[in-house]
């Protein structure tokens, strides 16, 4: 029964068709992660800061961004931003779709990152910060040199969760016609009239799997390197 529908040769051809689109995936997610992380850190700072207004604002932002389905947010950005710009006489209708996708992912990733960062920073014993300022570091330096390096170790697994999830959001970009590796897979499937979709998706899954293994290896190394001097609960 299976042989009737399953032809492994499709997997190989799919590889060569999919690979070129990996760079779109990288470009879009790379930019989104960069901007999203920066914005996320700002939000986390607001959440941990003294200003009640800033905290409320950051909280509200997080709630709305986390709770909005990506596709809705994408449409909001894709149609809303040019519309708003139009009110100011700017014509954004010819801006590349990738820009809207990056904006959308950035907004969403920032919300997730802000919580990752907040929980990680809070997990660092306050004594570490106190000791840092007591040796004459400014609060900013204390965070940068002492608190962050320790928080990063805690944040890494959750950051990787967000990052890897973002790499997979290609299906979303596809909705507005930006073809990344997921989009290309969909196109191949469509071009085959939905036949042999299983093989195409297996090829896609394999590419993603290799990618995630590479990312995890990298994070693993990072964690070990940054986690020097950490004493965790190992029961053995």
């Amino acid at each position: 029964m299976i042989e009737k529908y399953f032809d492994p040769s499709y997997i190989w051809t799919a590889f060569s068709q999919l690979m070129p689109f990996l760079k779109v995936t990288f470009a879009v997610s790379g930019l989104s992660i960069l901007f999203g992380t920066l914005l996320g850190l700002l939000l986390a700072a607001a959440k941990l800061g003294k200003s009640t207004a800033a905290r409320k604002l950051a909280d509200a932002y997080t709630t709305i961004m986390r709770c909005t389905p990506s596709i809705v947010l994408l449409f909001l950005v894709y149609y809303g931003v040019p519309f708003l710009a139009g009110q100011f006489g700017l014509n954004l209708h010819d801006v590349h779709t990738a820009v809207f996708v990056v904006i959308t992912f950035t907004l969403q990733f920032a919300a997730i990152m802000s919580e990752v960062a907040r929980s990680a920073i809070l997990s660092v014993n306050r004594g570490q910060y106190e000791a840092a300022v007591s040796v004459g570091l400014s609060p900013l330096q204390a965070y940068r040199r002492i608190v962050f390096p320790q928080a990063v170790v805690v944040a890494l697994p959750n950051f990787a969760n967000g990052l890897i999830a973002l790499l997979q959001e290609g299906a979303l970009a596809y909705t507005i016609g930006l073809i990344d590796i997921v989009g290309k897979a969909n196109l191949i499937v469509a071009a085959n009239f939905n036949a042999h979709a299983l093989e195409i998706f297996i090829a896609l899954a394999l590419i993603y799997w290799v990618l995630s293994i590479l990312i995890e290896q990298f994070f693993s190394l990072l964690e070990r390197w940054l986690g020097r001097g950490k004493r965790t609960i190992k029961t053995t």
Partner: protein
Amino acid sequence: ACGSGDDAEGDDAVRKVKIAYDQASKPMSWIDENGKPTGYDVEVMKLVDELLPDYEFEFVGTTSDDLLIGVEQGKFQAGVKNAFWTEERTKKFLYPEEFLGLSSAGLVLRKEDENIKSLEDFASAGYSLAPIAANNAQYTVIEEYNNAHPDNPVKLQAGDSFTVDVVQWVNEGRVDGGVMIEGPFEKQVTAKDGPYHHLEEEVVYNEFDVIKTWPLFNREEKELAAAYDGAVKKLKEEKKLEELSEEFYGRNLFDVLDSVDR
């Protein structure tokens, strides 16, 4: 296409318009191996473009959802996605006078169910139907049938456009039948090099309807729609559309135009 600033130059300038097309709806419209738009709907619009010196069409590939919202909002001036006509949709979009093409819808069935020729037969048999993407025109056809036959409806389920392989599903027995456009069935099963040619003896395609398909225009684009009407009329007279039907669907659907009731 970066001539965004020159819209204001006046009516005598060539107007650029964006025509969206469903990028994954072979053979009506899709992106070919070279990344170029093609398909019946797209090729017709390309011919229309050639006949309209005042307009320059830019084809934008996207998904159904984006196409519909984009045309409604004016991001695209028009869109083609094998759309059928319904009363309700005229509230959102501008339908032109002239239809774009014809679409043959049929049931894919196992050989032993060959005798099922219509949706009524299918419904009476109590058979299960492969899910159809909610934004697909075929869904509308079945839904309309169900509305017209409340006492004998087809079991209709919405699903994803990519994950349903109708021929496979029917053949493996996951469902009893599925709706398909004739063209794809030809290319998959009937054609010698089709991926499912080995199933030719096991599944059949029974056409139950041929339906007109339409481009959708933004409600403001009355002039564009009128220009389109003129051009398409000419193409029909020149039998250009019949050639394209032959090319993409493997059959000249205009032969049965007389029996098409919608």
